[in-house]
Assembly symmetry: D2
Homo-oligomer: 333 residues x 4
């Protein structure tokens, strides 16, 4: 399915080298002010440009196709479209028979009997995250008072404390060697209402993780103290309440109890794998020639696409929380 959400419903479409990509958002309340300007900051954060990111340049200006009238949402579905302008599909022709390791080439070709559009990764391209960022801008309008602070925690073996001195050099070295890097990103969501989450199945963690694993390349997520927290004793792990607003002394649970937000910061961390496309030659099976062969991937790609993921993470989580927020509207009897 290309749909996410129960009340704030996001449907994405498009391919890396087709006419463009976009997002259809249904369930947005009428009367929210929404202009092109509202999108520019978040979109710019996702853009390449810095060291370690792809040289593919796209203007990425959103086009409102439907659902917005006189700068306000109308209550009808909002279609936001981004044109593809800078595509170069020459290099993708052979990847169905000689699939790139780490990419969807092999699995998608099997699943779709070879009819998938493989150019630039097609519907599996990281370019689709543009749709998540755009939908997240709308989601953040619904979560008026909530703020999102993301941070890259680690690139390859380098921790954030070491970035200042060593990151550029590290990125350059890896780029020169034709290789790539992954990393981890943390996200803190502040000022979230108490009571979001619809357990049993639609816990805050379930809903957030479900959309976060849609971001290409994410391979892990943890809330609160996560994998490290399991070493704590219960008496240390438990977050005791300290005031009538439900604030807790520690936050090992990441702001979520029983799948429901408890009003403390939601805190989570994700693992992003190294960019799959590398210039270095790789020995991998050629399904037409029926043998292992060296594969060289040309084209344009990020050395460490993790650098562009923080805003994608923020906005994906915003989508999840906006949906839970609308679901939580209470009726009093």
């Amino acid at each position: 399915m290309n749909s996410f959400g129960s009340l704030f419903r996001v449907h994405i479409y498009g391919e890396s080298h087709g006419s463009g990509i976009g997002v259809l958002i249904d369930g947005v309340p009428a009367g929210i002010k929404l202009t092109i300007d509202d999108f520019l900051l978040d979109l710019s954060k996702r853009k390449p440009g810095s060291l370690g990111t792809t040289p593919r340049k796209e203007s990425d200006l959103p086009k409102f196709v439907s659902g917005i009238f006189n700068e306000f949402t109308t209550g009808s579905p909002i279609n936001i479209f981004f044109e593809n302008n800078n595509t170069d599909s020459k290099v993708y022709s052979d990847f169905k028979s000689h699939p790139r390791p780490g990419h969807a080439d092999f699995a998608a070709t099997q699943k779709y009997s070879g009819f998938n559009d493989i150019r630039g990764g097609g519907h599996f391209s990281g370019r689709l995250t543009l749709a998540l960022v755009a939908a997240g801008v709308v989601a953040k309008k619904i979560l008026k008072n909530t703020s999102f602070v993301s941070q890259i925690e680690k690139i390859g073996v380098l921790n954030k404390e070491e970035f200042h001195d060593n990151l550029n050099e590290y990125l350059s070295k890896v780029q020169t060697s034709g290789d790539s890097l992954g990393g981890t990103i943390s996200l803190r969501v502040k000022n979230i209402p108490i009571g979001l989450g619809e357990p049993f199945f639609n816990s805050v963690e379930s809903t957030i993780s479900s959309i976060v694993f849609s971001i290409p390349g994410v391979k892990g997520i943890e809330f609160g103290s996560g994998f490290e927290g399991v070493e704590l004793l219960g008496s240390k792990f438990n977050d005791c309440f300290i005031d009538k607003n439900g604030r807790t002394a520690s936050n090992n649970n990441g702001g979520i109890n029983g799948g429901i937000s408890n009003g403390n910061d939601i805190f989570l961390k994700i693992a992003v794998k190294p960019t799959s496309s590398i210039f270095k030659s790789q020995d991998t099976f050629n399904f037409k020639d029926n043998c292992v062969q060296p594969l060289t991937i040309n084209g344009r790609h990020d050395v460490a696409f993790v650098l562009r993921v923080p805003i994608v993470l923020e906005n994906s989580v915003a989508i999840a929380l906006a949906d839970l927020y609308l679901q939580n509207k209470k009726i009093h009897f």
Copy 2:
């Protein structure tokens, strides 16, 4: 929502100290042989009994309420019910005003305006995982050739290599001190068809993580080499194909590329937090008295409920994969 799945649809209901808990499974194909005996092994794996688990004893015999006739599924919804027999609700009365740290007490009382059934955790109890185990038994019938191997990797600070010599002593010591432990569990899913997963949003990782975070106490999940894998260079991380079946030399992606199963083992690991209920006194806010007060939790609980989670993890993942399996049935044109 208390519902999971698109085609294999699981709805759970019940409370820890109500008449019982159960699961309604819709979308199960007709003609699958299903008897009470099919459930006994998996249910026994979830039962307490060993050191470190709760003394609450329940027979946990499933009762087929609907959807099964003459030992075969009929195509109509299957309702499987488990009675609660051994309940003791005395100790839960005060937890709405003096909520237990780590539990849903505070967040659920806020969300449901105090109408939630708090006895034994109510609908938030670990007892609800019985429903997941039962539904997973049916899911495994659909995934005929697939096998599931789970393993506890870590309890508290102890790694699995150290269990043989030290685990019982460790559990006893923590139990005596009135404290509790968490842990990590790995799962390997073998012989899974190529092509499961419905990206963009219903990737294998999204679908699995969504249900796994419904298991009370899970705080992290990673696929393949997960958080550790981000330190690898792309050339090392990428899983090169080595034969015409798509087998890969390494499995850092955990058997999933672009959100789609590639036919290699799906491998994942989860973090389970320490049991929230501990006998040790905890200083935490009393919302009636409007001050921090010591809280002592009596009753019966697991020192390390992680010990009972492996079969819950297995069967939850089976539910997710059964749903993706049914979605992947192809039509040829």
Copy 3:
């Protein structure tokens, strides 16, 4: 699917001659008072007893399995169960090979490869409407100020104006001849809020008709002046507004414009076919013997089950409107 609704979600289960039938209702707000007594009036309206209805007697007392605590809804899923006590399955054995005309026997046996439970119609029995009536009782609690007035308009060839003098005689005559009757029912829903309905696809008419056609035997539905209204000129059909509350001079649209309630009474009518089970012998194909043969249906059945449908119609429409009501809760910006 055995599920209806987006926010007020109804899942039904059970078979006519199994252990019982029931309904799982998810999404019910916490804090609604709900006791067994609340169900008795509506359930009694569905009961047989009068001339023209089946002699099968069931107590039909609801059992609350989950989701209700101390007489209030808890916010967790509500499971309401009805036991089957008075079953007699002898007569159903041959209907898979010699299917009853008008019944699901043939189509269901094909669909479920013969594994369907055919006893008493199994999951296709009119007994399942008990679940709709029960769920409707809860739905009506959500639609606090709305009232439902249903009326049988026609039985066979007899219009309601003629019932007083001729109905009993007509029913007796048809019963004696081993035959059966259908009819039409109207429903007026009063005091419904303006703005319900989620077009494009979830119009009021779409949502109501979707659930109403789940009632076994319904073959037609029309809103407002329906099929007769097509003969009117637009100037006559259009319902002009006459005051600031949106009241209209006529109601040919049945209280719905553009798929959205306009605050006037929702008015609709349905067609219910004659009871399929008749005592009269019917010549119909025997799939085992591969020829047309006379079929005699014994057992117990309604001469005119339409007599028991009004409360089922009311409560089904209440379910649809409760779901639309919860969806329509606005957020102001």
Copy 4:
């Protein structure tokens, strides 16, 4: 919601006087040949042009935005877009305060707090049916062997037998008088597989009626002999089987038993109300001036838009049946 379907999922967007309207179709199997030419015949059937239809002229050429590559479906979501070229929004400015009888103006303005795009009816315009026709073209590709035969049965008071001699004169007369007409349409679906339909709630009738009532102006639907059939005795109404393929001697059930297709023709009829927009002055409430006032509607509209509905009906039913067809794919154990 602007979404329909479980596996063949249709999402529509757009407004009458915005940049255009379109449809996003998710769940379409990969490998279906699909070109612009495939759409032209059905789209031409919906076009105005004949007597009694609007003078608004649009080219209505579909644009494939995503999901189609080298003339085949890829398995990714298909976005088909139609530009609006011939719009004239001058006349719509006052309809929020002086709403047109029969239209969504009043109800939508209330529901969306006045933020709805009212130009040309906005998202409530009959122009949106273009999306249904386009999606139906794809649906028909899935239902390879099934054929659809629709027929206008009645226009105003004129039955189809009288069309040849009197229709043009009738339309001209009504047009001259500034008034409008409704009508009824029948649809016969031939060669439909046995076993479609997912009762309890997703019966064939429920699924079809749900989408058909999304077509603006539809006010009634009946299957088989419908409202007239209720006058028949059961012995006459029941459709006896006459051969091993399940063919029946009569078809009062319209090819559906117990909510499941029985392999005989699905037959249904709908009621379409008279065009709401008429040139004739109407006395109706002005909410700004707080009194009843004459309203004159200028602009362009169909005298009898029912003339353009047959292909919309066909293709809407095709969408419903394609979804049920994909849901019915069996797994054998």
